[in-house]
């Protein structure tokens, strides 16, 4: 760039600026053009200012050319938008494959062993369930339920037990009655004998006892209760 540090200054500086930027009118522009031919200072400054102006314009065009493109921020073109596809979701199988492809060998072996163990345990559990008898309900608690067969067994056993007890009592009473008859003669002995005869009658269970028995056996069925009534019909008659 030309050295103008020591150059003289002309009094037509404003006209020089107007001429430089093309804002001088027709007559003024012609007049200043003639002045330039005569004034070394103005001619020198005009040349220097032209270089400065060109440098600024170069910087402006280069800088704002790139910056304007970013300021505008145009929407992506259709072609570009078509190229940008959403990320495809992997299926489960593909995800597993990808997992194994990037996993180390020890992790693959451990996973395979765990899967095999899981299969064996599953097979064992299925086999065990199939061999186990079917439970009607949970019979381990106090609310135990009986099958019809078990219930019949329990009832038969209870009836047998009561019958045996009665027979045993009857046998014992007979023997005692004989002894008493031998030691105490008279009306008293007859009364005792009469009393013993009453007790020697086969005694069934009264309602309370039957209910107790039914509660013990958790009997809820009225049909079963009817069976008991049929087994001990005497107890339904009111005592006199």
């Amino acid at each position: 760039m030309e050295d103008t540090r020591e150059r003289p200054v002309c009094h037509r500086a404003e006209d020089l600026v107007s001429y430089l930027y093309g804002e001088a009118g027709g007559t003024d522009a012609l007049d200043f053009h003639q002045h330039l031919e005569q004034c070394d200072a103005c001619r020198s400054e005009y040349a220097v200012f032209n270089q400065v102006h060109a440098s600024i314009q170069l910087w402006r065009n280069e800088a704002l050319g790139a910056a304007f493109d970013q300021v505008a921020m145009p929407e992506p073109a259709t072609e570009a938008r078509q190229l940008v596809r959403p990320e495809r979701k992997l299926s489960a199988l593909a995800a597993v494959r990808q997992f194994f492809s990037v996993s180390p060998l020890w992790l693959r072996g451990a996973t395979a062993f765990a899967a095999l163990l899981l299969c064996v345990l599953s097979v064992m559990m299925v086999a065990r369930v199939r061999t186990r008898p079917v439970q009607i309900a949970n019979n381990s608690g106090p609310e135990r339920l009986y099958t019809q067969h078990e219930l019949q067994d329990h009832v038969n056993k209870a009836v047998e037990q009561v019958r045996n007890d009665l027979l045993a009592q009857q046998t014992g009473v007979n023997q005692t009655g004989v002894k008493q008859n031998e030691t105490k003669p008279g009306s008293k002995s007859v009364q005792v004998a009469t009393n013993q005869r009453k007790e020697l009658r086969p005694r069934g269970l009264n309602r309370q006892e039957r209910e107790q028995l039914a509660a013990d056996l958790r009997l809820t069925s009225t049909a079963d209760e009817d069976d008991l009534l049929l087994a001990f019909p005497e107890q339904d008659k009111p005592r006199q």
């Binding site: 760039m1 500086a13 404003e14 600026v17 440098s55 402006r60 910056a67 300021v71």
Partner: protein, 193 residues
């Protein structure tokens, strides 16, 4: 300017509640305001922020717009004030460390795509020098240069924006060009040395 006659109508529509009207004003003037801010600040990020702040300030003060002035002059005045304010703040914060980075970015901006390495290096250095010279001008000189070189406003428009006499615009521009020439001369001497 084609849009100059309609800008005032847009402002009236915006004032009457038309949400699209001010957006249209922004679309019309954002590039010019950005160019002005870029010339004043020399950094793209700062210029973007200043442009945004300019339009926000304009929207806030829409009711204060005087109908006797042009919308373009009004917007430029706001932008110049925004840039000056930002530079003052930056000076207070002492943001000199960012200057080198900004120069680097500006140099990358200035790189022609198909330039040879030697020419690219020269263009980069020259752009850096011009930018540094413009930025180092006093604010009253710099805004005139930027409005003329970046905005290509007429002297009359600059006078209206800055609300100064026409002769003052010319004298400021002349002084600014002399100072720029001297700074660039310094750059040329240093380059030779």
């Amino acid at each position: 300017m084609e849009t100059a006659t309609n800008d005032e109508q847009m402002v009236e529509r915006a004032l009457s509640g038309d949400p699209e009207a001010f957006g249209e004003i922004v679309r019309r003037w954002e590039r010019r305001i950005f160019a002005l801010a870029y010339g004043m600040l020399g950094r793209e990020e700062d210029a973007r922020d200043a442009t945004q702040e300019t339009f926000m300030a304009a929207f806030r003060n829409l009711r204060g717009f005087r109908g006797d002035a042009k919308v373009s002059s009004w917007l430029h005045r706001i932008a110049v004030n925004q840039c000056i304010t930002r530079q003052r703040r930056a000076k207070v914060r002492g943001e000199t460390a960012l200057e080198d980075e900004a120069e680097k970015n500006a140099a990358v901006f200035a790189l022609p795509v198909d330039a040879s390495p030697a020419r690219s290096a020269e263009a980069v250095e020259r752009s850096k020098a011009v930018r540094r010279a413009v930025i180092s001008l006093p604010p009253d000189l710099r805004q005139v240069v930027v409005m003329k070189e970046f905005e290509e406003l007429t002297f009359q428009q600059i006078a209206e924006v800055l609300e100064i006499p026409l002769s003052t615009v010319k004298s400021r521009l002349y002084t600014a060009l002399r100072q720029l020439q001297m700074r660039l001369q310094k750059f040329g001497d240093a380059d030779v040395a």
